[in-house]
Every structure is written in structure tokens, then in C-alpha cells.
């Protein structure tokens, strides 16, 4: 085989940690000074960290149940494709709220927070994390108050849909929370979870992409540009790959 790393191979020259190596200048990648060569380091890159399965990171048990129920009405299960809950949308939202999105990292959060026109953009003092805390609590409270003591998640599907329709129209109000805006936020986040790469916790097993026929994280379609009006046959692939990468199924 010719690769005798453990043997006594004589090596001509190699850079190695040690006094001599420390004489080197700054690392070539992520350098503040760029000069003479393009920066480079091995193993470079910042791949996304997969959302780990497991207990809620952000949500309480009640919140998680409520959001799962919401997800399953926003995207109900059917015979072909799972609903928002089984697709992992609540997991997605949970992990997102626990991360930079929930914390509003990178946004301009200096005061004063004044109410402006809608087209002046969101001026809310609270971010998504708190909006969910308040919104889910208010939703459950309102359901209990108006629908026989049950939180949202325990209502029948028909009743759930009735509540959501009411949130949309403004007929079903929440205490201290703009129900319409909250519902719009949940729809946005649940949809993102449904269609984002599975690495983030939703779109489990790429079910959403399979539903619509989206091939996922591919890069080269040169052999398909001029094939007009034909079905693209390859299964979707995510950032973490697809089943065919590791098992003997059809390529």
C-alpha cells in the first residue's frame, strides 16, 4: 500500500511547532493585515451547528405544547406530508429563540424606543424571545378563559382553527398582546422552520422539500438548464447530506 507512516521514513523538510516555527509571522487566515498572499488556513469555514434533538432549550413545557399545536394547525398533517409538529417546526423555533435570533443579536437596540409609522420598521422594545413568552402565555390564558378552561393545545382542531381565524381577524383578542401580530410572527417562524435546512431542527427528513419538489442544497445544474418542462428526478439533499451518501439506495 505504500503508506508506512509508522515506519522510519526520512523526511526532507517539514514545518513543525517549535522554536523555529514560532519565528513565523501571523497566521495567514483571518489576518488583520493582508499582504503578498491570499490568506489561508486548513480546516477553514464555519459550518452551521446542527440543532440537537432533545428537550426544549428555550420553551417551557407549556410553551412547547402550545407551539407544537400552533405549528400543526398552521401546517396540518395530511396523508402525504407530516404537519408542522412532526416536521419539527417547534423544535426549530425553540432553538432559534434560544440563539441569536431570539436575543436580537446584531440589531440596533439603543433607546429611545418610540412608536412610529408601520413603514418605519419594527421599533418594539422586546424581541421575538419575549414576544413568544408573552404571546403563548396570553394565548393559553385566553383559550382557558373563553373555551372552557383548556389551553390552546388541548382544544379540538376545529376550535383551534376558530381561535386562529379569530386572531387573524381581530375577533379573538389576547390580553396585553397584539394577537394578530403575534400570530403573523408565529406563521413566519413556523414556515421558516418548515422550509429551512433540516440542520436547524425543522423540515425533518426534508419532508417539506419532498412535498414541493425542491432538490435542496445542490450546486451544479448544468446538465438541466436546457431540459425544459421535465421533472428533475434527484432527491433533495441537505447540508448534512442525504440517505444515499451512506447506504446503498438508488443514486
Amino acid at each position: 500500500m505504500g503508506k508506512n507512516g509508522s515506519g522510519h521514513k526520512f523526511l526532507r523538510r517539514e514545518l513543525l511547532a517549535g522554536a523555529a516555527y514560532l519565528l513565523l509571522g501571523t497566521s495567514q487566515s483571518k489576518a488583520t493585515i493582508i499582504s503578498k498572499h491570499l490568506p489561508w488556513t486548513p480546516n477553514a469555514g464555519s459550518p452551521p451547528r446542527p440543532a440537537r434533538p432533545g428537550p426544549w432549550v428555550f420553551f417551557t413545557g407549556d410553551e412547547g405544547r402550545a407551539l407544537e399545536a400552533l405549528a400543526d394547525r398552521i401546517i396540518p398533517p395530511d396523508s402525504e406530508t407530516p404537519g408542522g409538529k412532526d416536521a419539527g417546526c417547534a423544535v426549530f423555533v425553540d432553538r432559534q429563540l434560544a440563539g441569536p435570533y431570539g436575543r436580537r443579536e446584531g440589531l440596533y437596540l439603543r433607546p429611545p424606543f418610540l412608536k412610529g409609522a408601520k413603514n418605519q420598521g419594527d421599533q418594539s422594545e422586546i424581541g421575538p424571545a419575549q414576544q413568544y413568552r408573552e404571546g403563548l402565555a396570553a394565548l393559553d390564558k385566553a383559550c382557558k378563559a373563553q373555551l372552557g378552561g383548556k389551553p390552546f393545545g388541548e382544544l379540538s382542531d376545529a376550535d383551534k382553527d376558530h381561535v386562529l381565524t379569530g386572531l387573524e381577524s381581530g375577533e379573538f383578542t389576547l390580553d396585553g398582546v397584539d394577537g394578530n401580530a403575534f400570530f403573523a410572527l408565529v406563521i413566519k417562524d413556523v414556515r421558516e422552520g418548515f422550509f429551512a435546512d433540516p440542520i436547524y431542527g425543522g423540515n425533518r427528513d426534508m419532508v417539506a422539500w419532498k412535498m414541493i419538489g425542491y432538490p435542496g442544497a445542490r450546486y451544479n445544474y448544468l446538465d438541466w438548464v436546457n431540459r425544459h418542462n421535465e421533472r428533475f428526478p434527484l432527491p433533495p439533499v441537505s447540508i448534512t447530506g442525504r440517505a444515499e451518501w451512506t447506504s446503498q439506495t438508488k443514486r
Binding site: 398552521i74 395530511d78 412610529g116 413603514n119 386562529l164 421558516e192 429551512a196 435546512d197 417539506a208 418542462n229
Partner: protein, 592 residues
Amino acid sequence: MANRLPGKDVVIVGLGWTGSLMANELTDEGLEVIAIERGPWRDAPTDFPPTYMQDELRYRVRHELFLRPDQLTFSFRNKMDQTALPIRNWGAFMPPNGVGGGGVHWNAEMWRFLPSDFVVKTHLTERYGASFLPKDMTIQDWGITYDELEPFYDRFEYLCGTSGTAGNLRGRIMEGGNPFEGPRSRPYPTVAQAQPFSHTLFGKAARELGYKPFPQPSGNLSQAYTNPLGLKMGPCTYCGFCEWFGCSNYSKASPQTTILPYLVRKSNFTARDNSEVIRINVDKSGSRATGVTFVDSSGQEWEQPAELVILSAYMMFNVQLLLHSRIGRAYDPVSNTGTVGRNYTHQTISSVNGFFDNKKFNFNPFIASGSIGMCVDEFNGDNFDHGPHGFVGGGYIGQVQTGARPIESTLVPPGTPKWGAAWKNAVKENYLSTVKPGTGIHGSFYAYRDIYLDLDPTYTDRFGRPLMRITMDLKDNEIKQNKFLTDKFAEIIKAMGAEKLDVQYRKGPYDIATYQTTHLNGGAVMGTDPTTSVVNRYLQSWDVPNLFVLGASAFPQNAGYNPTLTVGALALWAAEAIRTKYLKSPGRLVNA
């Protein structure tokens, strides 16, 4: 207390397109050049590899490659009598950050402006009379003609390997190209990109309606290419992750693919990343720049002295730095004095989505490049008689759908519920058979007296400096222009065979929360008259002759095209002026 660095011949603020172009030109003159970039170094193999670049959530929804408002943002209001509020999260536009700037994650749509665009004030006044123009419209001629700029358009197109079909070759109108374009001296360096199904269908429908459709000129290349600097690019593979994303396979024109590897090898060039310039320093006379002051990521201030300062920080940051450095006179719309911040413009964008029968049409919409599309230019500029219509300006319209990433592209026909089984089913039925052009209507945005930039009285950035304040609204002229264009576009989408249309007009008030391209312009406009411009026709500051301000800040108003090709051409034009005129005799290049 700032630490003073050894002086250089040239300091370049911002290493995006214009900074890279200028650095390459001036290092060829033998000058010692340092470029200072606020954001990080970036490159395909280390920062946007095909292992994880195809991530819509990260790069499109959370826009990871862009400037964070927390680092720097602006405040916004529609009208002068309103209180401006900070842009806490980007919406209408998304400013770039990092080496390569917007050139990393743009669509690479490469349009020349029309000859008439450069003399729009004169042209429109002659054709329609001065009273045809709205009273508060402040459009003006550029001080440069298309013919003067043509060689530099050509150079930038060849640097990028632009893929297209010539429409006007030295005065001869060519079949298959844009018959309205200004004359070009050479064909495009590479052939136009092959058009996927829906784009081809649009072209066919447009042709049948009597238009002359042509492929959008693209900086996503149709074939492998070696540019004049010896840098190699590959063919675009239609991945559908173009705008918002870096290109993983060297097929999108960017400073990284067309200039930087060549530039970085030169011993007289250095760049610093993660260093934010906060001020251009001028001497006591106020008419000579001595260099810049920047802050590194530890918060340490440094002074970089230089003989020549190039401000190439992106249009908004150019204007902001001029205001903070007190260079030139800030614009005051009430007294109509001053020039810095004046004639700020955007782009008038809208679209029409078409829903087709999925049993007859499968568009595979995820197969696309950022600059794909068949376009029609009959309604751009002054290409048609505006007399009956009561507005000026126009834009190209086209099926320029650049992909179908699902979070953004799972559209449903109007009237479909926003959630539930009906929504889910509609998404499933329509994804592969929807035409979603994105910026199907790409119209001009002319300048007005009360649309401008100045400094906010209340909100500050992390250094305690006032945010720049945007005062912008949509005027009747642009609204009318957009309605006209959108209706024309809708006709073509319908003629393609769409069953349902979702016609979206651009309506006022101007909305800072919905994305409308990052084609911001003006604020430091070029011109022949120092009372209405900040820089002369060579982009040299009227007030500080050893300061040049590059970028779309020079546009006196926006035309109906994407700005980058003109931005690049102007940078090369300015570089030529510096090399052939300024360096031989530093000082004012234009006396006015």
C-alpha cells in the same frame, strides 16, 4: 489617543468594488497603497464553500454576510416634519460589509446606463419642456457623457467576463441584444447565459407581443474565462444561491474573483480588515486631507496618514464620513443650500407573480443564476414617448427569477389563506409552476428636494456619533411610472400562459421595512457645478482636491438599471484621471 502609522501614498477607505479597482490602478503607478476595510476578509474556499453556502435561513433570512445594524445603521422618516426612527433591523436595503463588499453577494446584473441617462435633465427638458417635470424634482446632468464612459464600461465588462449579447455594436443594431443600449465598442467577452424554461418562455411571449427581448447581461459567467489580469473564472452552475450569498465556484464576478488575487501579490499593496474608518482628517485649511483615523476590533484608534485619500466605503458610508468629517457643506433642504446629502435616491421596484397550471408547466425554478432573465427595455429611460402618460423615467422589465429557495418562494395565488390545509396544498401545487421574477420591474428613481440625507438629532452609533438620517418618500412620478411598467409586465406574464396573476404595484409611502434592492445612490453627487454637486466629473471633491469619492454616491439620480457596472466604470474613469492628470499635477482637476 490615536497611534500614528507610517504614511502611505494612498489610503483607500473600504475594499469593495471601487476600492479594489482603484487600488489595482494606483499600485500599477508604483504608489504605496493601503486599503482599510471595516469588515472581515472573505474568500470562496474559506467563507462560502459549497458545503454549507446553500443555506437560505442563514444567508437570506438572517443575512449573515451583511453589516449588522448594531455596528452601524441609519434612521428613517418619510417627511421632514416627522421624527426619524432608527432602522433597527434591515428591510428596504441591506448594506454590505467585508472585503469585496456588495460585490461578494450581489446578483451580478451588469447594465450600462443609457446615453440619455447622463444628460437626463437637458434631454427631458428639451423633449417635454421644463413644466413637464415636477416642481420639486432636482434631477441634473452628470457632467460626463456615455461616450466618455464607454471605454470604461468596456474595461469593467471585460474584467468581469460579462456574459451577454450585444445590442448595439458601434452603431449597428444587433439581433438578439438590447436595441436601446448605447453603442458598445466590442461584443461581450463571453456569450449570454443559457436561459432556463420560464425565462425562455417569457422571451417568447414578449417577442410575440412585439417587444425585443434579450438576455440580461450577467456577471455569472456562461463559460470559463481568463480576465485581462490573468485571473480565471469558471462557468456558473445555476445553483440558485446567488444574491445574498457568496459564490462557491469562482463563477460570479466579484473583487475576489476578478482583482484581489492579482492585487494582493503586489509588494506595494497592503490591506487591513476589521478596521473601521471613523474620520477623514483634514488640515487646518480644511482643503487638504492628511489621512484617516480608524478603529480596530479592540477599540484602539489609529491614524493612517496619506497623500491621497480614496473614499470607497459604499454610497451611504461615503456620505456619512463626509458629514462626520465636516468635508463640504451639509445639505439643508429648507434653505436649499449645501450639497452633502442632497439628491439621495433608491430604485422603484415591483413585480408580478404568475401561477401556471402545474400539469402543463414545470419550471424547475431552483435552476437559475443571479443575473439570469430575458428582459425588455422598451419602457426604460426615455425610450418611449412619456407625453401621454404624465411621468418621466422608466425601467427594464423582465423575468429575472434568480432561484426558488423555499422560504421565500413558496407562493400561493391571491386569496389563498395564509395557513392551514388550503395553504399547504396550494404551496405544494404551485411551487414548481410559479413564475416569481423578484424585481420584474426595475424602474428609475429620480431626485427630489426633500429626499435627502443628513445627521439625526437623537440617535447615535456605538462611537457616540449621530446616525445618518434618511428622509425619503415615493413621489407621484415614480408611482405612476411603476404602475405603467407593472401593467405592461403583467401583460407579458399573462401571455406566457399564467392562469392567475398577483400584480404588486409599488405604492407609497416609502417603506423601510420591505426589501427593494440595495441600489442606493446620491448624497455626494458628481457634476459641473459645485453648488449642486459634491465631486467634479472626475469624482474629485470640490472642497478637498486630494480626496476622491467613488461609488453610487456620485449618481445625481438613479436610472432604470442596476448601478454596479456604472459604479465600476466611473471608478476606472476616476482612476484614469488620477493616473494621467492628478499625479502629474496634484490639485483641482476642474476649475469652476
